[in-house]
Symmetry: C2
Subunit: 221 residues, 2 copies
């Protein structure tokens, strides 16, 4: 058996694994994250349910792979979106960029969002490996806030943890409201996603230091 054939086989296997996960996401997007069934995955792939066990040892393993995939994708998306922006002189712009990227991804990936941020599957706990990118994202975000402090844009008399907590609440609130009440709207035309600029303003007014935007008043949308 040549190494070339091994590579081909491994590649083909990975393709099938990806197809399983893609199909699972498709179903979870339609039925909710808790509505995944292996029979439905197999049916859509044109195979029989037992064949899935060649690629995943259990249903929980599929959830775990999806969690890992979602966390990695979100982390990469956020990294790309905020590249170089920690050097910005405008806190509102920095937060709006990061917040937009985050909320946009969540709205575009409701199945992953439910799996990552809610608890839709009774008994499922992600493995440490799957969870790792999510931890990285938290650390990276807190670091970005610390950077803002060191630039003098963010108040230093408040712990970063507190600012971060409030920031996650705002982002979670927008995402939760949008996905729960109007899941079919996009980020661009969402009735709740459109509140992001206002809430960033609110946030900067509270926690920002000298940003000019902190004194401006928002207009009606």
């Amino acid at each position: 058996m040549s190494t070339a054939s091994l590579d081909r086989r491994a590649r083909r296997r990975q393709q099938t694994i990806d197809e399983v996960l893609d199909t699972a996401v498709e179903i979870m997007t339609e039925q909710g994250a808790g509505g995944l069934s292996l029979g439905e995955v197999a049916r859509r792939m044109g195979i029989r349910p037992p064949s899935l066990y060649v690629y995943f040892p259990s249903k929980h393993a599929i959830y775990d792979a999806l969690f890992a995939r979602g966390a990695r994708d979100l982390f990469d998306t956020m990294q790309e979106a905020t590249h170089g922006f920690t050097a910005s002189e405008d806190m509102a712009q920095t937060l709006l960029t990061a917040g937009s990227a985050m909320v946009r991804w969540c709205v575009a990936n409701p199945a992953y969002s439910q799996l990552l941020f809610w608890r839709p599957v009774p008994g499922f706990v992600p493995s440490q490996e799957a969870y790792a990118p999510a931890v990285e994202l938290v650390v990276s975000s807190q670091r970005a806030l610390t950077d803002l402090q060191e630039q003098g844009l963010l108040r230093t008399d408040i712990p970063v943890d507190q600012v971060f907590r409030d920031w996650t609440i705002v982002i979670a609130g927008i995402t939760s409201q949008q996905l729960s009440n109007a899941p079919d709207e996009t980020f661009e035309d969402g009735r709740f996603t459109s509140a992001l600029p206002d809430l960033v303003e609110m946030f900067c007014r509270m926690y920002g230091t000298r940003s000019p935007a902190a004194t401006a008043r928002p207009t009606s949308t």
Copy 2:
């Protein structure tokens, strides 16, 4: 058959109905709102599953009754908490009172909260009757904001709809974060519920007019 015996029978029937719903809430609290099963309800009540069909025609009917019950209870709780507070001269106090009552109820009733605000049950759509108290609550809240405007405490250059939208985002964010990340903490010691005063401050700084609190700066918690 006397009317007295009819009353007794009706009362006993209502007791059993309540016991079914209480048991269902218990299960949903432990397993998540989507994890309800009639077999488990019957087991905990010490009866057989078919007996449940004497009181409810289907599982969806149980969900609907729970939705109605939750919406009514939340509405009543909010009515009681905000009684007379629309006459307050302090917008921050008014919002903190209402927000505390709302978040406290949600944290204390995670099963109802999931059913009312998320979409944990694929295919379940609450009936108009069950949904009615939820609509009442929205109307009542918007009315309270309008009252604040008429008292000159809330900016009049911004549509009430927009203020209400942002307010629901803040409340949903706190609740969502608390229930998803630390569901076993109470309202009093919650790591996210404790953010409510800060966020109310933030809100008043943005949308309030002349409240003294709008110029004060929050301290570290």
